[in-house]
Symmetry: C2
Subunit: 452 residues, 2 copies
């Protein structure tokens, strides 16, 4: 089923730019950096502004307390609703260092003209995830104004960037309000700028630190070098052994032929990918192999090493201790708990003095690609963009998604709106009006379909 | 030849404590942290105080300028001198962090009573190398006062801790004044607290950084992990490969049977060694194997890694760049230049994008153990301590030593006075009066012998 053209709706989407720009400005300019990096209370003004935005379209909004920072839950109810959709987004953003931003001000909202995208909306959180969140709000408003009989519940979490450690509190506290026919998440990306795509899976993750103390204090490398154990050297060897080990590949399901065909049809462009992420060197330039590696295979990454001397010049010491921060990305059907157990066992054998701390995990997720909701999203994107969307996967993780699927038993679907060039987590992050129009129009159509 | 007892000298040594304590206090309380860590000019008050101390015993002292900070050269001349000895020490000290010192004040001189050592003199630089330097000064004064016809030239460098980068300037500028029969260096240590020892070799060193940039900015490990190259992971693998490689063992001469026998006679005590350096875990506990590893075999050490995220919590990024600080300790007859070339070639093959920077090197050094100077030191230590000194090696490096041997062609000998428990480079560093007495008495006897 394809949508008929709907010029009235398209006009109203087009006329939404002033509202969209002003509302996005409000949300971007109230910094909502993830808890942990700042005082938790600093996130409240942004949450309260979000609540007001949802109230302004007629929703009953509240901040639901958790053991961490609150989640805004806003219920837009129709007396004759024929369906209920939960839209999940998040209000928290990655920390931003002004020194790496062209403007010097990550939390000042700047609008730039752009030949293909009309406007670029620049500021931390513009694409991850405030812009997409507002697309769903505007889409719901337009759909309901045009007669769609649907209940929409907006769930805007404030701890997504740190792995949603308290999100189950929200699921428990508002279970009744959240029991919907479907959950839609827009916090994923198209693989290229001009090919609409629907994500059908998320990687999971397992975070760990590995630390080793070999002495009570650092020592002179001349006096002790050769006899003192060097914790940085041993952690480097351990990381190399883990990288070469097979335990963390266990349970990874290879994509089937249909999915491979879909990847190949996605228009994934190695040059665009490298440019978007500013990668100078990559592990492969074969497009399919690249897609498989970022979407469908586990990885082991080292994020940083603490300990020893990393300042100017050098210091000829054998360090007393070091800590390696690392994580695995995991794919369906890997079990983070089982991989964690294997990691602990591997390290215990390889270097018994190393202490492994597992620091949180997310399950991988695979979406249903055959139901009515997937079809509605597919047709909406096609109607709005004029192009047939491809199905791809997502290399990142959204902690809340497997929690929702597991706790509420509701299928989660994706309506991706961001682009690689938008710069998720990167300096100079932006969203753009072309993608916002696609988002508003698509959400409105999806709501209309599901209500109909 | 053993010395006859010399009770007059011993009395004068015993009466030197007030002078020694007061002079060491002056030098310790004028912080002379190595250049680079602080403003170069901060080292001048300490150098001027040293000059005054040498002038007070009748030497003609001057600060010899270099491209870096000056070296104090003080000539104590005898009209009928029969020999000329240069004594090399250094005035610069390692940086010290007050937070890690029991007193909180590394540059406040504290004296503690001690049952076997009478007094401990605590403060940064007390044992490395200000206390031993003053032993030679006092020893020369006593020897000359008691009739020794000898010229002694004191050379106190101020850049030893950073590898003596400008010391050849001093050798060039004062070549005539430095052309001596022998050079004696006391900046080495006994392997245990009660066994006098003479160092017969120094390890050399080769410093390097290895850096890798794979992207223009850090990236989200979900979006790019698997395709983006992770510079920390690659440097860890490279370091592990280097550690397992053989190139940096090339040219290492194994100690002969006599030297092994001497090591075995040294009383090296694994427990004392571990306690002195606060090592919880070591690579071996076999005493001979430990000695071989710290004195007679090369090592490869990692000192620190810059890049990525090492703060609180974690940050799921693939870093854009990383730099590993490392060094090799080298032994006779290894050539640091050749090892450096091999390192560059190894890295070029293993990971061509890694940039290696060689950051200075010292040649290893082997002392002559059969000449008159060695014998004089041996007999002096035996006369003063009542124990036959053993010959051992030194795991550390003293940049100036191979320079002196090479540039001036004068043999360098060691008269070690420090102990492992003194804490070279460590918090709460100290020297002690028992070792000072041994030093003063031994230097006096050596000067007397060489003059005789």
């Amino acid at each position: 089923m394809n949508y008929p053209a709907d010029p009235g709706l398209d006009d109203e989407v087009q006329q939404s730019e002033a509202w969209f720009r002003s509302t996005l400005r409000t949300l971007v300019e109230l910094p909502t950096v993830s808890p942990g990096a700042t005082d938790d209370r600093e996130i409240l003004p942004g949450l309260l502004a979000a609540k007001e935005i949802l109230e302004s379209i007629g929703a009953k909004a509240e901040l639901v307390g958790t053991r961490g920072t609150p989640t805004m839950v806003a219920q837009l109810r129709h007396p004759e609703a024929r369906a209920h959709v939960v839209v999940y987004n998040h209000l928290d953003v990655q920390p931003a260092d002004g020194a790496t931003w062209k403007s010097g001000h990550p939390f000042r909202f700047d609008v730039e003209d752009h030949p293909e995208r009309t406007f670029l909306y620049r500021g931390r959180g513009a694409t991850d995830d405030k812009g997409p969140a507002l697309c769903a709000v505007r889409g719901a408003k337009l759909a309901i104004d045009r007669g769609a009989k649907i209940d929409v519940t907006f769930v805007w979490e404030s701890e997504e960037e740190i792995g949603s450690p308290h999100f189950t509190d929200v699921l428990t506290a508002r279970k009744d309000a959240l029991m919907a026919d479907a959950v839609i998440v827009s916090d994923t990306i198209w693989p290229t700028a001009d090919q609409p795509a629907i994500s059908t899976g998320l990687r999971g993750a397992l975070h760990a630190t590995m630390s080793l103390r070999t002495a009570g204090k650092e020592a002179h490398s001349g006096l002790v070098g050769g006899v003192a154990r060097n914790p940085i050297k041993e952690l480097a060897a351990l990381a190399t052994a883990i990288d070469n080990a097979s335990f963390w590949h266990a349970g990874a399901a290879a994509p089937d032929e249909d999915e491979i065909a879909s990847f190949l049809a996605s228009g994934f462009d190695p040059d665009y990918f490298m440019h978007a992420h500013d990668l100078h060197h990559v592990t492969t330039r074969d497009p399919l192999e690249m897609m498989l590696r970022i979407w469908a295979r586990p990885t082991f990454e080292l994020h940083g090493l603490a300990g020893g001397y990393a300042g100017r010049g050098t210091k000829t010491i054998v360090p007393d201790a070091a800590e390696l921060k690392c994580s695995f990305r995991l794919v369906p059907d890997q079990d983070p708990m089982a991989i964690g157990d294997s990691l602990v066992a591997f390290v215990r054998t390889a270097n018994p003095q190393v202490e492994v701390k597992l620091a949180g995990s997310f399950r991988p997720y695979r979406a249903n690609t055959h139901g009515v909701v997937h079809r509605a999203i597919h047709d909406a994107l096609q109607a709005v963009t004029g192009r047939c969307p491809v199905t791809v996967r997502e290399g990142g993780s959204i902690g809340a998604v497997p929690m929702i699927a597991r706790e509420l038993g509701i299928p989660v679907h994706f309506l991706p709106l961001s682009l690689p060039d938008h710069g998720y987590h990167a300096p100079n992050e932006y969203f753009d009006w072309r993608q916002a129009k696609i988002g508003i129009g698509s959400f409105a159509r999806v709501f209309k379909t599901l209500a109909g």
